[in-house]
C-alpha cells in the first residue's frame, strides 16, 4: 500500500469553487478546512460568511454556517458564540467587509476579547462588486472608483487593521500572513492553526490577515499578481505577528 500523503479536506464540501482563476481564496479555504480536520472540530464549528467574494463560503465549508450582512460577521459570530461558548466560531471576511463597512463590529469584537477567530482576506480591492477601491487599496492603485489611481489626499490612506487591532487588550493573537508562495502558505497555516487553538483554549479574540490576490480586478495575470502582491503589498502590509498572548505570559 502506498502511503496517503494528501487528500481533499473532509471539512470542505465537494462543491466547485466559484472563485476566479488565480484567486487565493481557494488556498485559504483549504487551509482553514485542513485545520478543522486536523483539530477534529468540523462537528463543533460554526462559520460566518461575509458579503463579498466569499459570500458563498457557506456552500464550501462542510460545517454549520451563517451568512452575515455586510461587515457584521463579528456581531453575528458574537451572537452565536454567546449561545454556544463551547463551540468553535470563525468569521471569514474580506477587506471591504472588515476594514470599511464593518470597522465598528471588528474593533469591538476584538476589544471584548470575543472568543472567535477571524480570517481576514486583504486583496486591496472590492472583488465581488467588480473592482472598486477598498480601504486597503494602495496609493496610486487604479480601480473602477479610483480610475486615476488612489489619491491619498482625497481617498485617505491604505488602512492597516492588523496593526490597529493589535494595540487593544482584548485580542489573544493577531498576525499578518501571505499565500503567494508555498513557504508563505505553510507559515499562514501555522498562524491560522494557532489562532484556532487559542480559541479552543478560550484565550480570546484571534485574527489572521491574509494578503491575497485578485488577478481579475487587478487586471493582471495570476502569476503576475503573485509577484505584484510581494512587490507592492508586502511593503505596505508587513508580515509579522503583531499580538501574541503567549509571548507575554
Amino acid at each position: 500500500m502506498m502511503e496517503k500523503v494528501a487528500s481533499y479536506p473532509d471539512s470542505l464540501t465537494e462543491k466547485k469553487f466559484h472563485y476566479c482563476p488565480g484567486c487565493t481564496h481557494g488556498i485559504v479555504h483549504r487551509l482553514v478546512a485542513e485545520i478543522m480536520d486536523e483539530m477534529g472540530i468540523k462537528e463543533e464549528t460554526i462559520g460566518v460568511a461575509p458579503v463579498g467574494c466569499s459570500v458563498l463560503a457557506y456552500d464550501y465549508f462542510d460545517c454549520d454556517m451563517h451568512e452575515a450582512s455586510h461587515g457584521r460577521a463579528p456581531a453575528v459570530a458574537t451572537g452565536i458564540k454567546r449561545v454556544h461558548p463551547d463551540k468553535m466560531v470563525f468569521t471569514y471576511q474580506g477587506d471591504g467587509d472588515l476594514a470599511s463597512i464593518g470597522t465598528a463590529e471588528i474593533v469591538h469584537a476584538a476589544n471584548r476579547g470575543e472568543n472567535i477567530t477571524t480570517v481576514f482576506i486583504n486583496n486591496a480591492i472590492y472583488g465581488m462588486t467588480g473592482g472598486q477601491m477598498a480601504p486597503t487599496t494602495l496609493e496610486g492603485q487604479k480601480t473602477t472608483t479610483s480610475p486615476y489611481g488612489r489619491n491619498l489626499k482625497e481617498a485617505g490612506n491604505p488602512i492597516r487593521m492588523t496593526e490597529m487591532l493589535s494595540v487593544l487588550d482584548g485580542p489573544a493573537f493577531i498576525a499578518r500572513v501571505s499565500v503567494h508562495d508555498p513557504k508563505h502558505i505553510r507559515q499562514a497555516k501555522k498562524a491560522l492553526r494557532k489562532a484556532f487553538r487559542l480559541q479552543k483554549e478560550g484565550k480570546g479574540f484571534t485574527m489572521i490577515e491574509v494578503l491575497s490576490t485578485c488577478p481579475t480586478n487587478w487586471g493582471i495575470k495570476p502569476q503576475e499578481s503573485l509577484e505584484w502582491l510581494e512587490e507592492y503589498m508586502m511593503p505596505v502590509y508587513p508580515l509579522d505577528v503583531y499580538k501574541d498572548i503567549e509571548e507575554v505570559e
Partner: protein, 352 residues
C-alpha cells in the same frame, strides 16, 4: 399566574421575556427604553444568561441574528431612531426565517426627534421596516399587564412561525407603574430543539442560516413561503379588543396609549349622551381588518386617534372601505392627546 406585583412597564417587558425562556439580550442605550437593558443586565446573570451592550444598534440586531440562528430565544429593545438602525438585521432575520423578539418603545420623530412618547413608527413597524417583502407580527399593548402577556406570547409565536415579532409601546407605557401578574416561567432547556439551528453539525448534515438566493426563482420560492406564512398569521393571530361597542353608534379606533386616553373620552361622551365605543387593534400586523369591517353594520362614524399624523388611519380606511365617514385626531412630536380634545372631536362629529 402568581400574585400581583407593582412594576414599571419597561421592567415588566424584561421579566416577561425571562419567564418566556429568553436568556440572551443584545442592545444599545437609548431613551426612553433604558430600563429594559438595565433590568436584563441585572437579572440575566442570575439565570446564566447573557446581557451584552453592543457597540451600536446595527451590531445589536446582528448579534440577535446570530443568537437566533444558533437556536436561542433572544430579545433586543430600542426606541425609534435605534429601531431604524436595527432594521438591517431585522430584514436578514425575516429573510432567514428566524424567531426573535424586538421591542420598540416609541419616541417622537423624525430624525433625533424627542424622547417623549409617540406612535409615529406605525408605518415602519407594520409596512416599511426594511428592504424586502416581509412583515413582523406587531403587538401593541395598552397597559402593563398586556406588556407582560404579549411579550411572553411574542416568544412563543416567534418560534411557532419562525419569524421576528415586535412589541411596540411608547415612552408613557414604558414608564407607567401598574399591578401585574406574570405567566409561569418556561425553562428554556425544556423547549423543543430547533433542528435547523447552527449548534455544530454533530451526526447530521450541516445547517446554513441564510437569506441569499442568487437564482431569482429560488428567491421567489423563499418569498412565496414568507407570503404563505403571513397568510396563515393573518388567519390565526389577529387580536383586538372592544369597549362599549355593543350599542355604539360611533367608534374610536386607537391602540396603545392613545386607546387608554380614548377609553376615558368615551366614558365622558357616554355621560354626555353620545353612544361611543372603542375598537382597539392589539395586533397592528396582522391588522384586524375583517373585525373592524364588520362593525360598519352598526357604527355610523369613526374617529381614529393616534400619537402621529395618522398612520394606522390608512389601515382603518382600507378596512372600512368608504362605507362610513372616518375622522382623525392626532398629536405629534411627543405630544399626547387630551381626553377633552377627543371628546370635543366626538361632539363635533355628532354635530353638537
Amino acid at each position: 399566574m402568581a400574585e400581583k406585583q407593582l412594576m414599571k412597564g419597561n421592567e415588566v417587558i424584561g421579566e416577561a421575556a425571562i419567564r418566556a425562556g429568553c436568556r440572551y439580550f443584545f442592545g444599545y442605550p437609548i431613551t426612553p427604553q433604558n430600563d429594559i437593558p438595565a433590568y436584563m443586565a441585572r437579572e440575566l446573570p442570575k439565570y446564566d444568561g447573557v446581557f451584552l451592550q453592543a457597540e451600536s444598534e446595527v451590531a445589536a440586531s446582528n448579534m440577535v441574528y446570530g443568537a437566533a440562528g444558533a437556536g436561542a430565544r433572544v430579545l433586543t429593545s430600542s426606541s425609534s431612531p435605534g429601531i431604524s438602525l436595527k432594521a438591517e438585521g431585522i430584514s436578514y432575520i425575516a429573510g432567514a426565517e428566524l424567531p426573535c423578539v424586538i421591542v420598540n418603545i416609541m419616541r417622537g420623530g423624525p430624525g433625533l426627534g424627542s424622547i417623549q412618547p409617540s406612535q409615529s413608527d406605525y408605518f415602519q413597524a407594520t409596512k416599511g421596516m426594511a428592504h424586502g417583502d416581509f412583515h413582523l407580527i406587531v403587538y401593541a399593548p395598552s397597559n402593563v399587564q398586556e406588556l407582560a402577556d404579549l411579550t411572553f406570547k411574542a416568544f412563543n409565536v416567534a418560534d411557532q412561525y419562525r419569524t421576528p415579532v415586535m412589541v411596540i409601546g411608547d415612552g408613557m407605557l414604558g414608564q407607567m407603574m401598574e399591578p401585574v401578574e406574570f405567566m409561569e416561567p418556561i425553562d428554556p432547556d425544556e423547549l423543543p430543539k430547533k433542528e435547523w439551528a447552527t449548534d455544530g453539525a454533530k451526526g447530521r448534515e450541516k445547517n446554513v442560516i441564510n437569506s441569499l438566493a442568487l437564482d431569482p426563482r429560488d428567491l421567489e420560492i423563499l418569498n412565496e413561503r414568507l407570503q404563505d406564512k403571513y397568510k396563515e398569521i393573518k388567519a390565526q393571530e389577529v387580536m383586538y379588543d372592544e369597549y362599549k361597542m355593543e350599542d355604539a353608534e360611533m367608534a374610536v379606533v386607537a391602540y396603545g396609549t392613545s386607546a387608554r386616553i380614548a377609553t376615558k373620552a368615551i366614558d365622558m361622551a357616554r355621560e354626555a349622551g353620545i353612544k361611543a365605543g372603542l375598537f382597539r387593534p392589539i395586533t397592528l400586523y396582522p391588522f384586524p381588518e375583517q373585525e373592524l369591517a364588520a362593525t360598519t353594520e352598526k357604527i355610523e362614524q369613526y374617529l381614529t386617534v393616534e400619537m402621529s399624523a395618522g398612520q394606522m388611519l390608512e389601515d382603518v380606511r382600507l378596512a372600512v372601505e368608504g362605507r362610513r365617514p372616518i375622522e382623525f385626531y392626532g398629536r405629534m412630536g411627543g405630544m399626547v392627546p387630551e381626553t377633552d380634545a377627543i371628546l370635543n372631536k366626538l361632539q363635533e362629529m355628532r354635530g353638537e
